[in-house]
């Protein structure tokens, strides 16, 4: 999966839970929570959605690595690539 495809999947998982998020305005460096109101249940649903869509298992300890778009890309890129 290339980076663009992965980014689209991440954005789709995020907007499935929080559809008010405007993908174009999302700052990849800043955590989702600092840009939008994402509560802990939303974040959990987002991660579960990623697991389902990408067919990966994400251990709880790695959740903080998924807090921004950049973090998601780098973490998931590694998991899917390796």
């Amino acid at each position: 999966m290339d980076q663009d495809q992965l980014t689209r999947q991440i954005i789709d998982a995020l907007t499935s839970v929080a559809p008010e998020v405007e993908a174009g305005a999302l700052d990849p460096e800043v955590s989702f929570r600092d840009q939008y109101e994402i509560d802990s249940v939303d974040f959990l649903n987002f991660v579960l959605r990623l697991e389902q869509e990408l067919g990966v298992k994400i251990p709880e300890v790695d959740y903080p690595k998924l807090s921004s778009l950049k973090g998601c890309r780098s973490y998931l890129g590694r998991v899917l690539g390796g």
């Binding site: 929080a18 559809p19 109101e37 509560d39 802990s40 249940v41 939303d42 709880e60 903080p64």
Partner: protein, 577 residues
Amino acid sequence: MDPVPISSDTHPTPCQGILTAARAGLAGLPGGKGLNIAHEAVDRHAEGTAGERAAIRCLIPGGGARTISYRALAGLTSRFANLLGRLDIGAGEVVATLLGRVPELYITALGAMKNRSLYCPLYSAFGPEPLRQRLGIGQVRLLVTTPEQYRRKVADLRKGLPGLRHVLLVGEGVSLPGCQSFDELLAQAPEGFAIPPTDAEDPALLHFTSGTTGPPKAAVHVHAAVLMHRLTGRLVLDIQRDDLFWCTADPGWVTGTVYGILAPLTLGATLLADPEPFDPERWYGVIQDQRVTVWYTSPTAIRMLMRLGVERVRRYDTRSLRSLASVGEPLNPEAVLWGQEAFGRPFHDTWWQTETGAILIANPATEPVRPGSMGRPLPGIEAAVVRRGEGGGLEIIETPNLPGELALRAGWPSMFRAYLGEPARYARSFVDGWYLSGDLVRRDAEGWYWFVGRADDLIKTSGHLIGPFEVENVLMEHPAVAEAGVIGKPDPIAMEVVKAFVVLKPGYAGDEVLRRQLLAHCRRRLGAVVAPKEIEFRPGLPRTRSGKILRRLLKAEELGLPPGDLSTLEPPLRNRE
């Protein structure tokens, strides 16, 4: 400057020994000028060398902390009281915050009470609609918030809220039309302020809570409540003078004020203020690095920590912890015991609600816990399990383990004294001298209480109480929606999540695109915590003959219970409203 009207109510105050003893522990205003929460929480600890002790340790995002001593806090809150006077905000008028756990929150809350104004916290994750309602119903005169919150949610509401005379913004260098700088006004206000004579029955706090139907309710609490803040802080949470106390509740909810600010300060302890959101590893780091001794948190947070496992906890030194407690929704036995495994101490569950003003039923810190139980009534508190009779009277259920509604004998000091502007709704909360909590419980033969469910349709999610009506109304605003019914769907982490059943108008298709549109609409209007987490389209909704949505039937279907089993959900009570 009309004072808050308190509906006349003459509940006798119970004269149990413990409350009398607790009363003796209060300082009272100097010169016998009455009782004021801010004096008990700040000024009484600010004199002499003891005044140099830390009242608040505010963590700074990214590292470091700002410590505010009791003496400094006394000065800052006096400045704020003077600031209010200069802005012509007087006794009985409402001052609100829409803030996280930042120093300005504490200064505003306590400074407002010094001025004998009412302090009203608002939840910063609320969207514009819940804020509009609460600012209006609460007749809020002055709001302290951040430029970002103001721009996103409040600015557009100003025209419809003529009573909101002042908005103060925290942070440097931001000026917006119609707002003033918190820092500048505070710096200009003098530090000397003597709290005017305050009657223990003068209103002090305004806390919003959701109703099953109708607008949110604004519960009024009086200065006398401080007796319970202090008593329960000591008796239930075991807060001592040298403790560093950490309450993780959001400051927008009643726990965030009563235990997040008042209880630890009335006991002269230091409270930890952490402005950042939940993050397990960071939390363990905070406990270790700050050496937290007493920790009051929520079942949702505990269950999320449990998912991460005990091994993570063991990487940190959490031995400073002496007392752990939980509030918000019932704590399952596994979570109670997980505390023992992870921190060497069980979590002690506590029960109270906005209207009770303080913990009334608990597993006290210094006693063995009963895992899964809410606990037992505190000394001086009379509780009962009741059923509302056909004639309107109450029947007290004496048989152990039979479910009924939890009732508290009216008259404890932190009991709410009014729903602002709604005397009839307030009166309906009491029957035969008992306050009816709306929670269904059972009491075992040994006197321990166990939570069974809600007697009404209110939704308990992540420690918050949400009224389905508010959510349904916002869904109905959308042009595609014909009808909406909202329930709490059981959830292993949050206890319940908000789920909406939606009937569409002809010509609309219930597809993924529309689901996302509706979800986005709700989240923008209501905020993430109140908006549904799940939306399901249906051809119709079950209703009573009079047209009320049968939310209980929706819930039964969601749980896969046959309609014949509905009796298990239908409480033996009449609807409260």
